[in-house]
Symmetry: C3
Subunit: 131 residues, 3 copies
């Protein structure tokens, strides 16, 4: 799935896209892997509340400040984006039970842009359990 | 699986429950996904040593202090719980080989309560490899 | 797979080993789980650029400094290694599509030694999708 991001850092709620893929498949039980192929993006699951999303970027700014003398910066000037991606992780996996993605009431799946804006890709991989 | 947590923050060792699910299934080779459906809990794998478990919460207190002017706090007063959950992740996946969960000597699977006490749910999803 | 690490902290690029396992298998579509069985190591995916790899250890030193009065240290003197492993996570999962591991241009899979040097193990688990 292609995603065009609009800002340097951005949380994009892709839950509906993932739900649509699960619905289109014939899978009743299994797992759904949501992954990114970039080294300055991440996938997380949490609540879609604008204040919380801004808190998340404020926290990353505090823990991994931009331009803090990183050795990677002379090469590409985005060390902080890579380091934040490492902390958040490049994928999330969610169960599928009785044809439905097992997400809690407040759980939403986010693509996390950490070095945008860019054209990005997200992979949704479904695995059927035949056990 | 239902879990009743007892404290605001708490690490609950659920390894034996996961092992029992793997044993009950007929799966010889595959994977086991342990996931939470909440946005203020997490799943981690590490050693079950009480000192280390307290170190973990002390670290979270330092990295993501409670009540640090978060934008989400006027809504629900638990931004730190959400942010800690994002850092730790909502699931872990473990291989199953020859009918057994592949855990190292010191590895234990923990449900991490970050905004308790509450009634919580953990999902254990097994996927058989037929390859 | 056995890995002999050479330093206290070290990032070892195991991408080629993982690619070889996927190639050897007959799996066209599915997922590949790369996991560690130790509580002071981790698996991450990011770019293999030496400056960035040093930045990553500098960040861990800042966020989780060694010997900071941890309760686990009187027992084993490696609390920082455990805590860093918790933040990074013990596995990564990557899609397999048309017989190939879905990695982006800059994505490499790393075994992260956080308490070496030691003999370590990494598990590569492939699950075929028959859906």
């Amino acid at each position: 799935m292609r995603i065009d991001t609009n800002r340097a850092v951005e949380l994009i709620d892709i839950t509906d896209d993932v739900l649509a893929e699960v619905y289109k498949s014939s899978i009743q039980n299994g797992i759904c892997l949501v992954s990114t192929t970039h080294t300055t993006t991440a996938i997380i699951i949490n609540e879609n509340e604008p204040g919380l999303l801004s808190d998340m970027f404020n926290l990353l700014n505090k823990l991994v400040p931009p331009g803090a003398g990183y050795n990677h910066d002379p090469i590409d000037n985005n060390a902080d984006s890579h380091l934040r991606a490492m902390l958040l992780g490049s994928s999330e996996t969610v169960p599928i039970v009785d044809g439905k993605l097992v997400l809690g009431t407040w759980q939403r799946i986010f693509f996390v842009e950490l070095d945008g804006p860019r054209q990005r890709k997200v992979h949704i991989t479904l695995v059927k359990n035949v056990g």
